[in-house]
């Protein structure tokens, strides 16, 4: 006979794969959104908005799966914490998807052939890379229940936050040209979306610690500045 509660274990594993797989969907959306920003590609931006349905669909699937698992299998202890954490994770996935959509929606608004500032663009690209790397690290940390890796995310996120503040400062000092100023404002908004994505990965990291230790601690908030 196999290990006990075979069906339950399988279902739980599948649910985790589904939820973490949502992070892959987010990564794809993020890549596309940033590319659209960089090349002001309105069509690509439109695809990002349309494909958010995939992420929303994934959210509903995982949500229903969690309800079923709770009702039918009555998980306890670590299993219960995993299920609760997956609920958080998929919420974060959905929010991150929305942030990618927000970025994409800014593309047509920022106009074609607008003047662009190289420093800001570089910073945006750097933020994008960091966000991508944080997504991947969060996924890895959860899948391998690695607390160290989870806590390291805070360090990376502080870098994203710093870049966000820098872009803001740069935009304020950008000069008098109306078109440039307008473009820079939109870039601030893009940066803010990226910063939100970063925060969401930190939320996922907090869930990793919760699953492993049973304790919930905010890594970085108003009372615990990094």
């Amino acid at each position: 006979m196999q290990e006990t509660r075979h069906n339950f274990r399988e279902a739980l594993k599948r649910l985790e794969v589904q939820a973490l797989g949502g992070l892959d969907l987010v990564t794809t959306a993020l890549d596309r959104a940033l590319e659209a920003v960089g090349y002001q590609d309105v069509e690509l931006a439109g695809m990002v908005v349309a494909d958010d349905d995939l992420i929303d669909g994934r959210y509903l699937e995982v949500h229903q799966g969690i309800l079923s698992l709770l009702a039918l299998q009555t998980p306890v202890a670590t299993d219960l914490r995993i299920v609760a954490a997956l609920l958080h994770v998929i919420r974060c996935v959905e929010r991150m998807g929305d942030q990618c959509v927000n970025i994409a929606k800014l593309v047509p608004l920022s106009g074609y052939e607008s003047p662009k500032d190289k420093d800001i663009l570089d910073a945006i690209e750097r933020m994008g890379q960091l966000a991508r790397s944080q997504l991947s690290q969060a996924q890895e940390a959860f899948a391998s229940r690695n607390v160290g890796l989870a806590q390291d995310l805070v360090r990376q996120d502080s870098e994203i936050n710093r870049l966000n503040r820098e872009i803001f400062r740069r935009a304020v000092e950008i000069g008098d040209d109306v078109d440039t100023r307008e473009w820079a404002m939109f870039m601030i908004l893009v940066a803010r979306c990226l910063e939100r994505i970063g925060d969401n990965t930190v939320d996922i990291a907090e869930q990793v610690v919760f699953v492993v230790t049973g304790l919930f601690r905010e890594f970085a908030d108003a009372s615990h500045p990094v």
Binding site: M1, F8, S68, Q73
Partner: protein, 298 residues
């Protein structure tokens, strides 16, 4: 022996036995008058599983109306759980399926119970052949105390006068099917009651399975077992459904949730809700079901 699931009869040969095994000897009552249900024909439907249909079933204990007009289909090769508060008629209803209900003095049933469209309550149907097709496992494990482990598993075959079967092969196969083989293979001649509670219950399941029924009824099979033994039996049920249609009565809602594909909720003899388990426990259709599963009464 030809495996069960590949046996398909030519619809033209309507008198062919369903399974390719030696004819089962019926009891010594006048054979001409009694129809042996276990050799009924298989119609052209190719389902390898067996479904049970209850139509307008009523059951009485004297003047007490315990089951009131239940209509239900138990799908083949699925586990259906029946839940409900004490006295709601769930055990009574299930006992009508294998006609054990009528063994109680003063008890009677009306309506129709069909197995693959054959009426179990037909006029000339021999009750013992119904019970050979519909096996039952009880709440308290009840191995026969005067028999060894081997004899217990073979008891069903011996009690029904089955001839021409390889007894040893059937017994070994049944013990393997319930996962007891490794634990008892070296002590088949020891008394059946020497096993632990969980093992005894699996022994009783092996005894039921050795007769090769088509449907297995279980009346609160884990109530008398500890949690580990309960889990083992639940895993077993999950494996058994590949070959049998299973109906399980349980007052343990979590068990119904874990183990069944479909759940039926009964109250005061009536069928209130019959839904896929997933749905019944996340979005019950009837308010009474909701109140029962959330523990507001029961």
């Amino acid at each position: 022996m030809i495996p069960r699931d590949t046996q398909k009869t030519d619809p033209a040969q309507t008198q062919q036995p369903v399974r390719d095994k030696e004819p089962v000897e019926v009891s010594d009552s006048p054979a001409e008058e009694q129809q042996d249900v276990s050799t009924r024909s298989q119609d052209g439907v190719t389902a390898a599983g067996h479904n049970v249909v209850l139509t307008d079933l009523h059951a009485y204990y004297g003047s007490v109306h315990a089951v009131r007009g239940v209509n239900i289909t138990f799908p083949p090769n699925e586990v259906s759980a029946i839940i409900g508060p004490s006295g709601c008629g769930k055990s009574t209803m299930v006992r009508c399926i294998n006609r054990m209900h009528e063994e109680i003095p003063g008890a009677r049933a009306e309506g129709s119970v069909t197995l693959d469209d054959v009426d179990m309550y037909g006029d000339n149907v021999d009750v013992t052949s119904v019970r050979r097709l519909v096996g039952m496992v009880f709440q308290k494990p009840n191995p026969f105390p005067t028999m060894s482990i081997f004899e217990n598993v073979a008891a069903g075959l011996r009690l029904t006068g089955t001839k021409g079967v390889n007894m040893r092969e059937r017994v070994h196969r049944a013990l393997r099917a319930v996962g007891l083989w490794e634990e008892v293979k070296n002590r088949l001649n020891e008394p059946g009651i020497g096993l632990s509670g969980g093992q005894q219950q699996r022994l009783c399941i092996a005894r039921t399975v050795a007769v090769e029924p088509e449907v297995i009824l279980m009346d609160e099979p884990c109530s008398a077992l500890d949690p580990v033994a309960t889990l083992k039996v639940e895993e077993l049920i999950d494996e058994l459904k590949e070959r049998y249609t299973i109906v399980i009565v349980t007052h343990n809602m979590q068990q119904a949730a874990r183990v069944s594909d479909t759940t039926v909720f009964m109250l005061d003899g009536e069928l209130i809700e019959h839904s896929p388990t997933d749905q019944l426990f996340t979005r019950p259709k009837d308010e009474r079901t909701e109140r029962y599963v959330t523990g507001k009464f029961g």
